[in-house]
């Protein structure tokens, strides 16, 4: 009792620390006070905090390293790149990003409008058929279109046979290895992002607003421009940003179709071991990505529409009338170009490949490599995401949200940058792990951890914090609470996240390509290598397997949007 009193008085005294008191102790106390304040007086357990902090650091160090390297690349190199390469790359990258984004948004929005709001035959089936291009990795799509439209491709061979075409248009006019080739492939395989987001918002759109507009004498077209489009704007914005970020980060399509944007330039600079230039280009690309993310944050804040839920009425379905046939043709063409034709090409070449014995021991070796590195990465992601999401949701503070944001660094930035940083870090500071399977797995974790985090977070938000407190009051320390109580509650979400990471890892190309240790090629790497050498019969079976695996989380993706 009397001791407690003393403690209390001491507390009051230590603000005006006496002259004789040790100043370092005062500093320590001050820090401790700050520390407590930053956690709102409720700091997490040490084990948990360190786990989270460690993960956050692992996630961001490679990228920090790239920035660091680029800052010390030397003025000369900077000047040379700024004078010569960077303007050209900016132009290439920027024009491609804008063109693909615009066109994909246009296709995505029109398709979703047709499928959700009109009486097109088979609209329920179209709703998920048109999302199918999501399961085809764009670099696989690029390969199929090189086969179809490229030099010595199907169309060119057919062109030669038909004399009137040659007479009218002259030589075969399509050059797939060009801006337009890259633009076409990227558009065809990214539009589903907009399609899904726009469909979801169209389905949620309240009919009341349209009825009001109609009662004020607007026709369907006016309603579309004045009522529907403003409601769709957030969805369009979100979809556009997803696509823009994708185009910025894509490596496979761009490299295979021999167009050069930042990612390809970084890869090739690295391939010729001009790592200083590679890091400079990486820094510029990072800035570009950050600008887009910043735009996203800005627009998202501005455009929050709330629809009143209690008076919700399903939107009505418009009759297409004489437009039925053209609309159906449009939908069919897009579906054919983005799904049917690529699959036909792959099946055709796979059949040839299997005939020629492409499915040999080596092939299964590659498949096994893909499988184990992806499994390992997804398990790591499931484990590592737990402390971060737990910290973020149960101990909200500046520190935990910084850890959370750090973890998104590798997700937002292109894979080539992550790989570049990994090479720096591992070769110089972690030689034991350099050039091992683990290096690839860690790169995959850095790239895809946020997918596991998002899935886990969604589940964790449904678990009351009272559950944790109940467990703690029953004598379990925080880390044990996480394992015994939280994990079983959110296991389905965590597993779903793991599955997403698994599929992303199977598809991942640039980081795997740059980091693979000797003798460790994956299916994705083989698709890239063989397709570049025009050995399509070897590339097609691997691509087909990747697509089959990608179908697994499609249901989850469709539900998410």
């Amino acid at each position: 009792m009397s001791e407690d009193d003393q403690n209390y008085h001491q507390l009051n005294n230590d603000n005006n620390a006496k002259a004789g008191e040790d100043t370092s102790l005062a500093v320590l106390r001050f820090l401790r006070r700050k520390w407590m304040d930053s956690w709102h007086g409720n700091p997490p357990g040490k084990v948990l905090f360190l786990l989270g902090l460690l993960t956050g650091l692992i996630m961001s160090i490679p990228i920090i390293y790239v920035i660091w390297q680029s800052l010390f690349a030397g003025v000369d190199r900077w000047r040379r790149l700024l004078d010569d390469r960077i303007p050209q790359l900016l132009l290439n990258t920027f024009s491609l990003t804008v063109a693909v984004t615009l066109c994909a948004v246009l296709i995505g929005v029109t398709l979703s409008w047709i499928v959700v709001r009109t009486d097109i035959p088979g609209r329920k089936i179209w709703q998920w058929l048109l999302a199918l291009p999501l399961v085809i990795p764009p670099y696989v799509g690029a390969m199929t279109y090189i086969i179809v439209l490229g030099p010595s491709g199907w169309v060119q061979n057919a062109w030669r046979e038909v004399s009137w075409l040659v007479n009218m248009f002259g030589e075969y006019p399509i050059d797939i290895y060009s801006f337009w080739g890259v633009f076409f492939v990227l558009t065809m395989f990214t539009y589903p992002y907009v399609f899904l987001i726009a469909s979801a918002s169209l389905r949620k759109m309240n009919r009341n607003f349209e009825e009001i507009a109609r009662s004020q004498g607007m026709n369907t077209r006016q309603i579309f421009w004045k009522v529907n489009l403003p409601f769709l704007r957030p969805a369009i914005g979100a979809g556009a940003i997803l696509i823009a970020l994708y185009v910025l980060s894509d490596f496979g399509v761009i490299a295979m179709m021999r167009y050069v944007t930042f990612t390809a330039a970084i890869y090739f600079q690295r391939a010729s071991f001009d790592t200083a230039s590679a890091s400079i280009l990486s820094l510029v690309l990072m800035l570009l990505t950050i600008v887009i993310l910043w735009v996203e944050v800005k627009t998202r804040r501005k455009s929050k529409y709330y629809q009143t839920a209690n008076t919700f009425k399903e939107p009505d379905i418009l009759s297409l009338g004489k437009w039925k046939i053209p609309a159906l043709i449009y939908v069919c063409v897009i579906f054919f170009v983005s799904v049917v034709l690529p699959i036909i090409v792959l099946v055709y070449w796979s059949a040839i490949g299997i005939g020629r014995g492409a499915l040999d021991a080596r092939f299964f070796g590659f498949a096994w490599n893909s499988l184990r590195v992806s499994l390992f990465a997804s398990l790591l992601c499931m484990v590592l995401s737990m402390p971060i999401i737990y910290l973020k949701s149960r101990y909200p503070s500046v520190i935990s949200s910084s850890i959370d944001k750090l973890s998104y660094a590798g997700y937002a930035l292109p894979g080539v940058i992550v790989a570049l940083g990994m090479i720096f870090v591992f070769n110089n500071h972690l030689p034991a792990l350099y050039n091992t399977f683990y290096m690839v797995a860690i790169a995959l974790v850095i790239r895809f951890l946020p997918q596991a985090m998002q899935a886990g977070e969604a589940s964790l938000s449904l678990v009351s914090p009272r559950i944790d407190e109940a467990a703690r009051s029953l004598g379990h320390p925080p880390w044990k609470v996480m394992i015994k109580v939280i994990l079983p509650s959110i296991l389905p979400g965590v597993l779903a996240g793991g599955a997403l990471v698994f599929v992303s890892s199977i598809k991942e190309l640039p980081a795997t390509l740059m980091l693979r240790p000797p003798g460790f090629d994956t299916l994705a790497v083989r698709v890239y290598v063989e397709a570049n050498e025009s050995f399509y019969y070897l590339a097609a079976p691997a691509a087909l397997i990747i697509i089959l695996i990608s179908i697994i989380p499609l249901r989850y993706l469709l539900k998410k949007y």
């Binding site: 507390l11 304040d37 407190e469 009051s473 320390p477």
Partner: protein
């Protein structure tokens, strides 16, 4: 010496100008059931969570049993405090059976002891035979009892209950008050219950702590709290009351109000001239020739009684009408004059 002691406990939330709990000092003896009563935001839940270790006080110290669990230097994590907690939403682990839920806190016990203890507490809460069910297969009241059983199982030093009855409907609520009290008494547990409902507080606890704005207003037995609220806040928060200002008569046993002299139960020792008295509506009994009179302005029928608003006949018309409870069988006409007496036991001087 008291069993649990909170000494000048203060809690500031981040960047808040006023404390959520301000210099709270409270002593609780072993086996006692205490209720923290107050409106939402009064600091009662914060106090409970500080006891449990889910929040760290900004200042002050807390002792449970022989152990100082928290002072300005260190703070014992809640898992080491030996508390049992029952939450408003029960927080039963949905993926564990009732048995496993109860065993959860017995992690260091031998398996045979665990089983024995589970049987004991299930018996105590009257749920023998429910052990293998999952929480969502039980009714609200049953879940409540499981939550209590789970908290009691490890023989905690103190049971903390956060709004234990607020999720139950009226009928069940009354039964659970009784059940919980019986269980706690049988287990001879020390318990601290947080509630905003005075009926909960009065029916289960030995002592009630009324709080407002982070400050303890009054600590007393339920009866005393009701009959002798120390200030306006307590008087108004605990049941309906009429607050009337007046002047203390020199005999210190009567108060001169605008409608007449009112008798207080005991001679006060306060040397004040201007005072406020609280007069409970049920302390005013209609009588044929009562001491006080007024005109009925409004009558509300509420089942057990009729609530009358009576405009008192006095010189000052700006005063509030008096609230009086009348028996339901009595015919009341609006606009008629009534007379009544005031029972001194339900009159209190308040600050």
């Amino acid at each position: 010496m008291s069993y649990i002691q909170l000494d000048h406990v203060t809690k500031y939330y981040n960047r808040a100008a006023t404390p959520a709990v301000d210099q709270l000092t409270l002593e609780i003896s072993e086996g006692e059931i205490i209720t923290l009563l107050g409106p939402s935001g009064c600091g009662k839940t914060t106090t409970l969570r500080m006891l449990a270790g889910f929040e760290k006080p900004t200042g002050g110290s807390i002792r449970i049993g022989d152990e100082i669990v928290c002072d300005d230097r260190r703070s014992l994590p809640s898992e080491k405090r030996g508390i049992g907690m029952v939450f408003q939403d029960y927080a039963l682990f949905p993926f564990l059976t009732i048995e496993k839920n109860i065993m959860f806190g017995l992690n260091k016990w031998k398996l045979r002891d665990k089983k024995k203890r589970v049987r004991e507490v299930l018996e105590l809460v009257g749920l023998v035979g429910f052990g293998t069910r999952l929480p969502n297969e039980l009714s609200g009241g049953q879940q409540q009892r499981v939550a209590l059983a789970r908290a009691l199982a490890p023989n905690p030093k103190v049971i903390l209950m956060d709004e234990p009855f607020s999720n139950l409907d009226a009928g069940l609520r009354e039964k659970m008050r009784l059940d919980v009290t019986n269980i706690l008494r049988k287990a001879n547990a020390t318990a601290i219950i947080v509630t905003h409902d005075q009926k909960d507080a009065f029916s289960v606890s030995d002592r009630v702590v009324v709080m407002n704005e982070g400050i303890i207003q009054q600590i007393a037995s339920p009866k005393e709290i009701y009959r002798c609220p120390v200030n306006c806040f307590v008087a108004q928060f605990v049941g309906k009351t009429n607050l009337v200002s007046g002047r203390l008569c020199p005999d210190l046993k009567h108060v001169e109000t605008h409608f007449g002299r009112v008798c207080v139960p005991q001679q006060t020792n306060k040397e004040l001239e201007n005072v406020v008295v609280s007069i409970r509506p049920e302390g005013c009994r209609l009588a044929e020739y009562g001491r006080y009179s007024g005109i009925v302005e409004r009558a509300t029928y509420s089942g057990e009684y009729q609530e009358l608003h009576v405009r008192l006949q006095s010189g000052d018309h700006s005063n509030q009408p008096m609230v009086i409870y009348a028996p339901v069988e009595q015919e009341i006409e609006i606009g008629r004059a009534v007379t009544f007496n005031i029972t001194p036991e339900l009159v209190a001087l308040v600050n």
